[in-house]
Amino acid sequence: MELPIYLDNNATTPLDPRVLEAMLPYFTNKFGNAASRNHAFGWVAEEAVDYSREQVAKLIGCTEKEIIFTSGATEADNLGIKGVFEMYQDKGNHIITVTTEHKAVLDTCKHLEKLGAKVTYLKVKEDGLVDLQELEAAMTEQTILVTIMYGNNEIGVVQPVKEISAIAHKFGALFMTDATQAVGKIPVDVNADGIDLMAFSAHKMYGPKGVGALYVRRKNPRVKVTAQMDGGGHERGMRSGTLNVPGIVGLGKACELCRLEMDEEAKRLSGLRDKLESSLSQMEESYVNGNVEHRLPHVANISFKYVEGEGLMMAMKDLAVSSGSACTSASLEPSYVLKSLGLSDDLAHSSIRFGLGRFTTEEEIDYAIENTKKAVNHLRDLSPLWEMFKEGIDLSKIEWAEH
């Protein structure tokens, strides 16, 4: 077992060696531009892109023509949301999303507000799931788009996508989902789920960074988005720019491997995740964040009360994890996702996210359990709050000098 152990697979995943192998020729002798129609170099590249499109389409149950390659999920989110807003502005200007979305969605919506969009940011329930009645109540005749993520990047909860899309369609709106954390991890079928647009990226599913896709439905209804980048009119006019052929080949191969191995991998990872989570949640004053029934198989988000997340991560120095603690970022605010669940700031500061992946072993999980327990106990020995809790002092009654 090599240290440190990578348990941050929601941030990014390592490239699967089989994906790398598929990509390599497209950096060297198969370097052609997929848009070069008049010679063999271009044809070879185009063929590779077409094949990748098939591999991607197969994973999510759509046709090849519905895949628009992008530089990643952030671009796909931007293209989908801004593109729909621009294309459908005659129909209405109202967009519905939720407060626990990724910044790529939230900040895109905020940008559109400046351009005249009305955006509703739905709160989530304590378990992180959308309240369907609230969603329905928020729908208006002006609603053109409901954009709600499939699986959450911090806590892993999986939204009731089928029910959400049914509500959107009932009111004549389109349904878009940022499925970056879900595609390749759990079965996602755009038809069964009623998805009209979907953003995802390769590097969260053992593919390369810098490539992703936007699924845009072509039938029932035929969805159109206004291009957000002008140029050569690639990707059916929706996304100009020379195709990143090696990246696209990598995305295709990554999708194929996920399609073939997902069931088994999900079973294995949820087993390891449950082992990790049940051992750690046995510790005194530790809490699992988010719904534990409807969620991705490979994520556990746990708050260890009375210790601070960043300090804790320093003590877990052989583990690469992430924290909802403020101190990990330049801002002093703790995770807005955890706060959206109604978690108090101190519990949000005390959270650690464990993201398991394809290459995580049971030996690593056993090590992670011991290492985390030791770190939590060590930090609690240093914590005045833990000492006060142990003495039976009610911390909520103390007048803290907030700074």
Binding site: G311, M314, A326, L332, D345, S383, P384, E387, H403
Partner: protein, 137 residues
Amino acid sequence: MAYSEKVMEHYTNPRNVGTLNKDSKSVGTGLVGAPECGDVMRLQIEVDENNVIVDAKFKTFGCGSAIASSSLATEWLKGKTVDEAMTIDNMDIVEELALPPVKIHCSVLAEDAIKSAINDYRVKNGLEPIELAKSHH
């Protein structure tokens, strides 16, 4: 962000972790920060009849820089007179630990904890609390 060697060193081997008897007349206790903000420091000093700090202990809830700042503070306090301790400035801590700008608040908190412990000691012994020049927060 990588931590400086000195922060790592204090974090890994924190000095003077523990608790003094807060009810003792010779002990001053400072508890500063707030759980919501992600930092709480408790710093205690024990002062002898010559006004010399003979012992100092801390416990801190916070990031590595907060733990290191309070550990360093206790190290500096021991052997100083109360008056000398009043002159410890947060920028001395920043410099010693090479804290980046985003972690300066940790040093500010440590300075506040020192002053708050001294004031607790003074009040217990019938002295006026020293008015703190500025609130950093």
